[in-house]
């Protein structure tokens, strides 16, 4: 059984159908990319998966649980973590504080008005472990709002990791970045994939997609156009006509 099963979802905003009959299933450990031209419905599709709003039709199940109508915070508890196209962080706090809040919430401390010494040590250890993985340890004390775009993205991904996610949903992780930053974020995603994380990402940058993804889903005007390995997608004629043909 797949980890994530999206079954024929449709999302209409009034008369505008942003996503039409899209299905997707992701296996544990897989890195799946979702691509498509602007307005293809990628972000809407992502919002359906993460629970920002429910689909008009169709179902979504995660590890056998029907999550179609669950709000985001309930999906988070099941292990679905996401990042946003516009980085969503706590800008006036340090990287360590950003990650620490996530670790505390994930550890069930959110309502606690005190913290024991041993608990504090365990929390700090977990924060350090995550920052090690995302290579932010050296900048732990810096205020997130003052960091580069790439580091902010890495901080956001670190926060998603505090949830011990079973799937990571990344919405355009390299949006608006220069070559160096794109390279760093791509390297981070690769590292997470090697560590065994299941990842689904939306991406605009073709180099990133073909470099990273195990399989690709192509959307066009809200509908699925093709699905397959990077190899298959790059030789698919429909995709070339609708998408690659215009940019390449």
């Amino acid at each position: 059984m797949s980890l994530l099963d999206v079954n024929n979802v449709t999302k209409a905003f009034g008369s505008l159908v942003a996503v039409r009959n899209v299905s997707l299933s992701i296996e544990p450990g897989e890195l799946r990319a979702i691509i498509g031209p602007n307005g293809a419905g990628k972000t809407t599709f992502f919002n359906l998966i993460s629970g920002l709003f429910p689909p008009t039709e169709g179902t979504i199940s995660f590890d056998g649980t029907d999550v179609t109508q669950l709000p985001p915070q309930r999906r988070v508890v099941l292990g679905m973590a996401r990042t946003f196209q516009i980085t969503e962080i706590f800008p006036e706090l340090s990287i360590a504080e950003n990650v620490r809040i996530g670790v505390e919430v994930a550890g069930g401390y959110r309502l606690r008005p005190w913290i024991r010494k041993a608990e504090n040590a365990a929390i700090q250890e977990r924060v350090a472990e995550i920052l090690e993985l995302t290579q932010l340890a050296a900048k732990a004390g810096r205020t997130v709002g003052e960091l580069s775009h790439g580091d902010q993205r890495a901080a956001e991904i670190s926060m998603a990791l505090t949830l011990k996610p079973r799937i990571l949903l990344l919405d355009e992780p390299t949006a608006g970045m220069g070559d160096q930053e794109t390279y760093e974020v791509t390297a981070l995603i690769k590292r997470l994939h090697r560590e065994g994380y299941t990842i689904a990402l939306i991406e605009h940058d073709m180099r990133v997609v073909f470099n990273l993804a195990d399989r690709i889903l192509v959307l066009d005007q809200g509908s699925p156009l093709a699905q397959g390995t990077p190899q298959e997608i790059s030789t698919n004629e429909a995709v070339q006509a609708a998408y690659l043909g215009k940019t390449a």
């Binding site: 993460s50 985001p72 915070q73 988070v76 508890v77 973590a81 996401r82 946003f84 969503e88 962080i89 706590f90 800008p91 006036e92 706090l93 504080e97 620490r100 809040i101 996530g102 505390e104 919430v105 994930a106 401390y109 959110r110 309502l111 606690r112 008005p113 005190w114 913290i115 956001e156 926060m159 998603a160 505090t162 949830l163």
Partner: protein, 313 residues
């Protein structure tokens, strides 16, 4: 635990106030007013500065604390601690009930609804003559000496004793707020202030946490109100009015709503200006208004934020 210089400094200033206040033409009742209104502004700021939620009706809980305290002394029993407790209960329960109705609102809508509910309490106090004394306010009660068993502290007549009694209450309330803000729960409030969407996607039930912050804020606000009633031996319906809420917001913003102690400084400036200007002109509020505009325009982090930056530079 390390001694924090800011806490040591503020403690020294406050503990020694009865000694240095006369040197600068101050007096103890003024110091007590600063503490009480400072506590109110800091309570409001727990919600405003550290949860990112603006209530424009917090005077309601201040006033309920004052009336609750007055009712207890007048109708229940001549005990000051009991009166404070009753004031806090009244304000906190009202905050808990109304808070549950409004936590789903955000921004301007939240502020408007808090004003509306605040005015409901104002009109109740204003109209219900037989219980509240209506427009004249609630009179006919007076603070009682505190019996500690081995000795009695006469806060009824001795204004220095009253100052220290209020200072102890202030220290307990502010200490609790400070500890809360440094706890995991407190950090969830910062998270909500910083970025509600991210907080939600960390799995936080936002409404529950805002409600808790609101109730905690109301609890300390009503404590300030109860102390205010003790200070004046009087509860005033104007203490519930939205203009009073506005004064609390001004104190918090004036002093600096992102710093823990900012609202205390704001309250001190406000009270001292009010005290000195109102003896010279009936238009003292315009001068506070001018100062508020200047601070908002040029020192967006408030007076304390400005002083801090200056001391770092």
């Amino acid at each position: 635990m390390k001694l924090r210089p800011d806490i040591v400094g503020i403690s020294l200033i406050l503990v020694l106030a009865p000694f240095w206040l006369p040197l600068v033409h101050g007096y103890e009742a003024l110091g007590t007013r600063v503490l009480v209104l400072g506590l109110a502004a800091m309570s409001l700021n727990f919600l405003l500065g550290f949860t990112g939620v603006l209530s424009f009706g917090h005077a309601a809980y201040f006033g309920l604390g004052a009336y609750g305290c007055g009712f207890a002394l007048k109708y229940l029993a001549p005990s000051t601690p009991l009166a404070i407790l009753c004031g806090m209960l009244l304000g906190t329960i009202a905050g808990a009930l109304l808070g549950a109705l409004i936590v789903r609102r955000r921004g301007v809508y939240f502020a408007m609804v808090t004003i509306a509910f605040g005015q409901v309490f104002y009109f109740i106090a204003f109209r219900w003559n037989t219980l509240t004394g209506g427009d004249d306010g609630l009179r006919g009660f007076s603070r009682q000496p505190i019996d500690l068993g081995f000795t009695t502290i006469n806060i009824a007549d001795n204004l220095t004793a009253l100052y220290y009694f209020v200072l102890v209450c202030f220290a307990i309330a502010v200490g609790l707020m400070g500890l809360l803000l440094r706890s995991p729960f407190g950090r969830t409030l910062l998270a909500i202030r910083e970025n509600e969407r991210r907080a939600r996607f960390l799995g936080l039930p936002i409404e529950q946490h805002i409600w808790l912050s609101f109730v905690i804020s109301c609890a300390f606000m009503s404590m300030a109100g109860a102390l205010y009633a003790l200070l004046n031996n009087f509860a005033d319906p104007k203490g519930l009015h939205y203009t009073q809420s506005g004064d609390f917001v001004i104190m918090a913003v004036l002093g600096g709503m992102r710093s823990f102690w900012g609202p205390l400084l704001g309250a001190a400036v406000f009270v001292v200006l009010q005290d000195s200007l109102s003896s010279m002109t009936t238009n003292w509020q315009s001068w506070i208004g001018v100062m508020f505009v200047i601070v908002v325009l040029f020192f967006p982090r408030g007076l304390l934020g400005f002083l801090r930056r200056k001391s770092q530079a």
